[in-house]
């Protein structure tokens, strides 16, 4: 099921880099939103480094659809701009399907430079996968937890 498109120029070397606390914030928000889909935005830099995670309201209030609350989006966009940063992606949960972008996710992806994270809540342990969506094509990228503990 994993389709890795190797060597695509726009995504070669692309990854999402975040801390364990940021990952936990995102997953916890999605779990709290169950049975609805949870969603939010990331602010970061042009290298895919997440600087802050911003859970938002889901305007659709649905288990099948998410729509980042327009006022939350405006506030986060302004704060990012004031800090010389920008919104670099969005996350949302799939409460009962696999964490792969759906046709709707692909069709409605707003920005080809963004990172799109799907938090899968289908199984007991949440899974988090990140993608670039460009011209209707999905490219999975690694989620790099920058402060992961690796005992030796």
């Amino acid at each position: 099921m994993l389709e890795e498109m190797q060597g695509h120029d726009a995504t070669s070397g692309s990854s999402l880099r975040l801390t364990s606390a940021q990952l936990a914030t995102m997953v916890a928000h999605c779990i709290r939103c169950v049975p609805e889909e949870g969603c939010g935005l990331f602010v970061g830099d042009e290298h895919g480094v997440v600087l802050s995670v911003h859970p938002t309201r889901n305007e659709a209030r649905s288990a099948q659809i998410y729509s980042v609350d327009a006022h939350d989006h405006l506030r986060i966009d302004r704060e990012a701009e004031d800090a010389g940063l920008s919104i670099i992606g969005a996350f949302h949960s799939h409460t009962h399907t696999d964490p792969w972008p759906s046709p709707t996710d692909v069709r409605q992806a707003p920005d080809p430079t963004w990172h799109y994270v799907v938090v899968g809540l289908r199984h007991e342990t949440a899974s988090t996968r990140s993608y670039r969506i460009i011209d209707g094509n999905i490219f999975e990228e690694p989620v790099v937890v920058v402060d992961k503990y690796n005992p030796t």
């Binding site: 935005l41 659709a60 288990a63 659809i65 998410y66 709707t104 996710d105």
Partner: protein, 93 residues
């Protein structure tokens, strides 16, 4: 009247890279029509070909989403700032 319009990253290429542009209009509808006339590469992305607001775009006057005001008929004042952001949405299917 001249109105400042903040553009989302995805539309800036169509405006020669500018993040904020100034167009004339007294309502949101007039401003968005003027925007698409000034930057034809944006045609169909903010207003549909039928002249309605594209469903995947959010337009704000200052802090307010125009869907909760008067939509395209929302009147603008001299210090109002219009912002355009893409809708961020998707779903299971």
């Amino acid at each position: 009247m001249s109105v400042a319009v903040r553009l989302p990253t995805v539309l800036r290429t169509a405006a020669s890279g500018q993040a904020v542009v100034t167009v004339d209009g007294g309502t949101i509808g007039e401003v968005l029509e003027a925007l698409q006339r000034a930057y034809p590469a944006m045609s169909g992305q903010v207003l549909t070909n039928e002249g309605t607001l594209h469903r995947f775009v959010n337009v704000y006057v200052n802090d307010d989403d125009v869907r909760y005001l008067d939509k395209l008929d929302t009147k603008l004042g001299p210090d109002d700032v219009v912002s355009i952001l893409p809708a961020v949405a998707g779903g299971t299917h």
